[in-house]
């Protein structure tokens, strides 16, 4: 059985729910089973927003996971809350633009990404969420191909929003590169 899960968290408006949706849509297009479970409590009103995405080649049991294989965090409160819940061997993607402290988990892969700088460089300053998603994809042996995610971006940014697609894909790709670099063997 191939499967994975990731929790993506940040402030409301930072695009974590959308990033998760793109991942879920890409996985579905690949014929995989997916679930996308958002937090919908009072925290969505200006607090933190998070989503758990599960991907598997078999029907998904519980969409609610409390120990995660992947974690993507945009802000410090999310890191503090969910960091300890990542299982040994998991991947944690940290946005250094808003989290300026080190995060120690020797049993995990910690990918540090300045999502803001990379997004601005890609001329897509609003696509910081996609930089983070890319970094997660790059750092994991994910079962969802990158192309499927790009495809999902094109589908989401269609019509009047189509002009955002190219820069969004650039942001995603640069994120992927960051993620891959982080897991390259030292040397």
């Amino acid at each position: 059985m191939k499967s994975t899960d990731v929790l993506m968290a940040g402030f409301g408006g930072q695009g974590m729910l959308l990033a998760g949706k793109l991942l879920a849509a890409a996985a579905m297009a690949e014929g995989l089973e997916v679930s996308w479970l958002p937090s919908y409590g009072p925290e969505m009103r200006g607090g933190t927003a998070n989503v758990i995405v599960c991907v598997s080649d078999e029907p998904i049991g519980s969409p609610l996971i409390t120990s995660h294989r992947g974690l993507v965090v945009m802000n410090l409160p999310s890191l503090e809350k969910f960091g300890p819940r990542v299982v040994p061997g998991g991947v944690i993607v940290v946005n250094t633009a808003l989290i300026d402290r080190e995060y120690e988990r020797e049993d995990c892969v910690v990918v540090r990404v300045d999502a803001r700088r990379i997004a601005i460089d890609a001329e897509a300053d609003r696509a910081q969420n996609l930089v983070m998603l890319g970094a997660y994809l790059g750092a994991t042996e994910t079962i969802v191909p990158y192309e499927a995610v790009e495809e999902a971006i094109c589908k989401t940014f269609s019509g009047r929003k189509a002009r955002f697609a190219p820069a969004s894909i650039t942001a995603l790709r640069r994120g992927i590169a960051e993620g891959r670099r982080a897991v390259l063997p030292v040397g």
Binding site: K21, A24, A25, M28, E33, V34, S35, W36, L37, P38, Y40, G41, P42, I60, G61, S62, P63, L64, I65, T66, S67
Partner: protein, 357 residues
């Protein structure tokens, strides 16, 4: 048709349209608000009726009006709103009108919270309002099943001329999963009938009424309803049994979202060699008493039943009724929107198994 990724609430709305329901009356309440938000746009496309009522009291009565005119109609709400619909549900059941009510349960009592819960099991299965009436209650555990059971809810409500409820929770409402819908336009129209009101065209006048001032007449009406409920109980129970392949020493009973979480927990403990099965009622009313009893009787040795709910123990009463004292029943439940994790459930099972072995 290919799969689409959709939120449970929106998928339910689409399922209703595919089932041929183009009359919706509702009121916003978290966590079901995406149902009306989705349907207002969708019903405009298909030339249907959407009314945002002034309250849940009004929306269920609008449903009564539309149902009485012989059109397929529905409302949706969440726990506190369903409480307000209690009155209308009683009238609609008494008048024997078909309609579908969606309940995306949230945590109570009182204003409670907006997170998922199963604490309206009593409300759904033991009658919302006054009088000896029953509602068909279907409990999905995935977005796809929510779609399938919405289709079924319309079928059963029309077959038996009785309200049917799709009883899910906020998690299913808010979650996105891939879903497949029945083909658009494939639903059969409401058949001709001899009870709905409208332009008469020379026929005898009809009355949609629940007032019976003669006790004998009302007694007879109740007997008629009871006979119908018995027929529903005999024909319409549905359940899923999981993990029974090589026998089992413990039987977990759970429904809806909770059952799904239990499945993951059961996979986990079975991988450790523990023999555990899951019984999941899909119809909460009629409750599959017979099938549950059979599943209990198939437990090897004197192993217990573990009932797990996102409540303080409501379905538990039905599990005990099914057991009729024949087996030890254990309970684990959380409330308030706290959803037990698969790990937590697995731990409970392991604890129980220590006692068994």
């Amino acid at each position: 048709m290919s799969k689409v990724l959709m939120k449970g609430n929106e998928a339910l709305g689409e399922a209703a349209v595919r089932a041929g329901c183009v009359h919706f009356f509702g009121y916003p309440i978290t966590p079901q608000t995406e149902v009306p938000e989705y349907l207002v746009k969708r019903l405009r496309e298909v030339g249907g009726t959407f009314v945002q009522a002034e309250s849940e009291v009004a929306s269920i009565n609008m449903v009564m009006g539309a149902a009485g005119m012989g059109v397929r109609c529905m409302t949706s709400s969440s726990s506190p709103g369903i409480s307000l619909m209690a009155e209308g549900m009683s009238y609609i059941a008494a008048c024997e009108l078909p309609c579908v009510v969606i309940n995306m349960m949230r945590a109570g009592p009182g204003l409670g919270g907006i997170l998922p819960a199963q604490s309206d099991y009593f409300q759904a299965t033991r009658g919302h309002g006054h009088g000896d009436y029953q509602v068909i209650v279907l409990a999905p555990s995935s977005v796809q099943e929510a779609v399938d059971l919405t289709t079924l809810a319309f079928e059963l409500s029309e077959k038996y001329r009785n309200p049917a409820m799709v009883c899910a929770d906020g998690m299913i409402g808010q979650m996105m999963e891939p879903v497949e819908f029945p083909e658009e336009g494939a639903a059969t129209p409401m058949p001709e009938n001899d009870w709905s009101l409208g332009a008469r065209d020379g026929r005898e006048r009809r009355i949609v009424n629940s007032l019976y001032l003669s006790p004998e007449d009302l007694h007879r009406h109740n007997l008629k309803l009871k006979a119908k409920y018995d027929e529903i109980a005999a024909n319409e129970t549905r359940q899923e049994i999981y993990g029974t392949d090589d026998g089992y020493d413990v039987l977990v009973v759970a429904f809806g979202t909770m059952a799904r979480i239990c499945k993951t927990a059961i996979d986990e403990v079975r991988a450790e060699g523990l023999r555990v099965a899951l019984f999941r009622p899909i119809t909460l009313n009629p409750y599959p008493f017979g099938a549950l009893r059979d599943a209990m009787d198939a437990i090897e040795g004197d192993g217990p039943v573990l009932d797990i709910e996102m409540s303080m123990g409501q379905m538990l009463y039905d599990v005990k009724l099914a057991a009729e004292g024949s087996r030890r029943i254990e309970f684990y439940g959380t409330a308030g929107g706290v959803v037990p994790s698969p790990d937590e459930v697995a731990e409970k099972i392991r604890g129980l198994m220590q006692g068994v072995q």
